[in-house]
Symmetry: D2
């Protein structure tokens, strides 16, 4: 059973009102865990919408065990803003604020320490109250949108935020302690992130609970669950932005379903994770272009490049035409590159995994 | 011998001054015809720059028979304007004017009718004077830029304007009467254009001479050359914008060299044209999207789609997710599509050749 | 009695649907003429919306004699697109097309020649049919929007399109033959336009009827009305864009009401026009900036500047700071200037009336 | 004596190279303090350029006592980027990053504690080394630009960063402890800011020294100067962006000169500060719009509005037109408002001083 609600989020100058579709699929098993899956918070990053469409189809055929909330088109304002044929989707065109840096760490204060299940419910209730209270304030649209979505995530054990990135190979962000689980998404490139809150949706879940877990541990709380049992957030980067593929979405959705199987939210046996590469967030390097010109990105995204290997070459017109190489300063895996071949000095040329661990 | 001049084109508010590199390669044979090749007038359409780089390399090894002028980065202002990582390259960000609609039809008035070679030189001299006179006026940057470039084309027998188009298969625009020659570019998709001046560079050459030729014909001018001998303009669309490939540029350059061989500007025997498809400009159809949403462009660019075949499918979120098909209303060849999967109702979904002739 | 309908115009990628409010106020006198008043086709030009609000208030108190249709927010898509805090309102951010160049001249073919009133009704019916037929085609959003609005103007004797212009003094565009009537708007600066259709709304009305009138005249049609009795279009430029003033809107609305009084659409005696200046369209000069830098626009908009007078001065930083003057090349009235002090060489610095007639 | 150097800052894709003019005026008195004055880091905020032009004129007539470095057009990239006629000046159009959040707090480590003058020189030398070392890293253009400018500020006692703000009354940011001095700028609205570094230029000076001063104080350093003697940064907001006035610039420059007189950098007696209002940074409130529509900003900027007073009214079209009021929730002074009348729900409507102190 799939129920649809429309969450109003913004009135526009023309009088139009924007809302977000929220699909709730009731699980068959009330004891199963719950998932929240969102896509397109950055309006130009649309492949996740196709993945949610594929998941809706899957669950129509076979309902999940646990409740699943699916929220495509999470930022209708960003989706609708255009510059030439492209979508001004990553940051607010008015303020420059990255749409995925407005989430919030609700402060919770629990005085009693009941058993974990009860405690968790109490904390969720406090988070929901705190978010609702903050929504009463005079806030920017970006803050309000993030809080409204965050409110939908409260009560979910797994929060999966579907993004895309420039021109890129598929990769994901997972909390350090959840690497083993994260591999069930079947995405071979993983960023392992620490407990530092920077305003992203996945962190708003992971960091809140991670910090709380450390407090409980310090206090010697007896019913402390293993960290991997905590509510946790993931960001999946499903290839380049501005493109959608229904066929690829089926494969992407299969990875998400595999993760949900591993967590018991979907029935059946999860496939074993494939091998891949893990990189710590501090080793995820941005290469800013030292050359201005037109770039031919020669390295294959997702494949290792040895130190000194050619990553890209930039065309310049001086006395004659010349191609300036950008070489790998250390062994690395290129993950994404600039969306355009036209690049100024000091723009983000590409991002690479360094010091990777094979898993 | 390759000589470089820098043509100043615009002072900017910061005090910076923009110029354009103009490479002139002297041919070995003073009787050979001359070519003018330009790229990136639409700043985001950069593959032509790589082609010019490849041509510079070719000519460094083997100088051409006829003079060749090569002008990459023809619109430095457009190349440098950014919106997110993309290049605001097709139209003036301030006025919305398409940069390739500012060329001009200089009026010429020849009273005597000497032999064709002499007459042609006279007309070129008049065109140059007319353009120089107009450059004295108070003009917009777009008009002035176009005129300055147009002045460089005067005296060239073949003017080749290198563009790219959205996400697209390679194709070219050629004057109707020059289809046979145009096939030597080895680009299988050709648009055959009539003698209607719409402000584009290729037309500014083709239409001026085409009209003049008809006047001469009407007057019974005795030394009238065949139309295919007239100075003429071509626009080559070298795939999608915002990308560059040095390897593909070698192939693209080989096509240009093949055309120049056919015209005697490069020594050697031209390869025979491959088979391809020709479409008249009036049969080049824009399909505006009837559906708003996220588009999966399923049709292969450059390949025939039968009437009723699937061109694209658009994801929408209503009661549940659905994919709205866009079907071919007639047999066609999709040539280009929207640069983004994110599309509003009534935006250009794709452009298709219809009523094609196989050649 | 004011009736509201909402005209749907565009579905957006997010699933949102945009519509336009259409207020119809029934006149008391069925024999009175009819007016159509629209605002904000260029999304950033909003003062006209305030004027329509003021007119709604006026007509709520005192209904007009003739029917009046009021259409504010005529381009909700353009109104909602943002770049920084500004509105991308003058042209389609995707294609660069000026929103006010998409109107159409419907062809009409009348074989019989009944009395003028009947003939006019027949022509209007044909225009409506032609527009409806064209709306069946596969069109761009811009074309479709213009046609939908144009359909609303059919049957109106006076079509008043409310715009604003950069930073500007109030001025208006009127058909040459209607100068005397146009002065009743009480706007002292008037552009007198010829019968050349360039795609604007006012022209789509004026030119269609003007041409038809000439045909009838040539055919010796006996019931030919004076030209000033033809259906006609006006464009009013109500000061700078991006600003709104409720107080100024009352004054602007009073001018519109004065015109409507003069035409019998509002009861009462119109005030006599104030004196002003008329400039023929071909004498309306754009001054493109010869200097790049930062501009102090020193001339007072709407006031005469003698030949050689200072129009603007541009700050540049060379060896030291210097201010480059732009002087009037002929006696003129500055009407509008660039919206920003930051200007590149060859951008539109200002527009001026020249060869004005005092009326 | 005014010396000009050009600081290269960025190569662009077209091959153009951008630089910044740096004017250094040698003071007559080697013992006088030194000032650094910069403008237009946000490319659209240009009035400061006119102020620097006015200061150059002043100093040409009467050289200052102390050295003054003047850096107009500090961000040529931002100055040159256009969207319609406006300047994309406040944030990087590619990344959304505010150009004035990239400055850096260089860490200094001083083991010896000589007399203050000597100590100060040592710290400046360390800061310069640290900045130079960081400039060796692979950095974004925004970071590199900020560091290059910051390097120019090292050694200056007073760093004055000239900005503008939306549509606004003149106001300034000053470190809490320097309120008394700051009043000599003769700008009646002052924001008093604490020792929290947020990445702005003024803070990069004030916070570095302020923190260092606290360390020295804690260590009982004997030659501790009063805080107001520390090197310090100010941000002056000289009215709205996108406009320039040479006349107003003379008045603005007179205020700056008055401050420099007070500090002994310019000879002569400073005028006594006029009365004004001070607001603590935490009491500077942003009002996000609760209404979408078209706004008439009715409150006078810079003047007190009582609790419940009308700040703005927003036009909406529902059943009929209506104006939604935004009232002051507490007594306040409106300082700036949105640059456009077109506003969406949750955009920044205006910013107001609350809890002001009259000085």
């Amino acid at each position: 059973m799939c129920a649809l609600k429309r969450l109003p989020v913004r009135s526009l100058a023309s009088g139009a009102k924007l809302d977000i579709p929220v699909y709730t699929i009731k699980g068959c098993n009330p004891h199963a865990k719950r998932a929240y899956i969102q896509s397109s918070m950055h309006g130009s990053e649309v492949q996740g919408n196709a993945v949610i469409a594929a998941l809706l189809e899957v669950f129509e055929q076979t309902p999940p065990e646990g409740d699943v909330v699916l929220v495509p088109n999470a930022n209708p304002f960003a989706i609708n803003q255009k510059s030439a044929e492209y979508t001004l989707g990553r940051f607010d065109p008015t303020t420059g604020e990255n749409w995925n840096r407005n989430y919030w760490l609700p402060t919770t204060r629990v005085t009693q320490r009941p058993a974990w299940k009860t405690l968790q419910r109490k904390v969720w209730a406090q988070m929901a109250s705190a978010i609702r209270a903050r929504l009463e304030d005079n806030l920017s649209f970006g803050e309000r949108l993030a809080l409204k979505l965050q409110l939908l995530t409260v009560g979910a054990d797994y929060v999966i935020d579907l993004h895309c990135a420039n021109i890129s190979a598929r990769h994901l962000y997972a909390p350090q302690y959840a690497e083993a689980c994260a591999r069930y998404f079947q995405i071979p490139l993983m960023l392992s992130i620490p407990n530092d809150f920077g305003g992203a949706m996945d962190e708003s879940v992971s960091c809140a609970w991670w910090t709380f877990w450390h407090e409980l541990q310090a206090q010697g709380y007896p019913d402390l669950p293993p960290r991997r049992e905590l509510p946790q957030g993931y960001t999946l980067e499903l290839g380049g932005h501005e493109v959608i593929s229904r066929d690829a979405a089926k494969r992407d959705a299969a990875g998400v379903v595999n993760f949900l199987r591993h967590k018991g939210i979907v029935a059946g046996r999860a496939q074993k994770p494939k091998s891949g590469f893990v990189c710590s967030l501090q080793d995820y390097k941005t290469i800013y272009s030292r050359h201005a010109g037109h770039v031919d990105f020669t390295a294959t995204l997702g494949s290792c490049v040895a130190k000194g290997g050619l990553l890209a070459q930039t065309l310049q017109f001086g006395r004659t035409a010349s191609w300036q190489p950008t070489l790998a300063e250390e062994s690395c895996i290129p993950v994404l590159h600039h969306s355009s071949a036209v690049i100024h000095e000091g723009s983000e040329l590409m991002k690479v995994f360094t010091k990777v661990r094979k898993v």
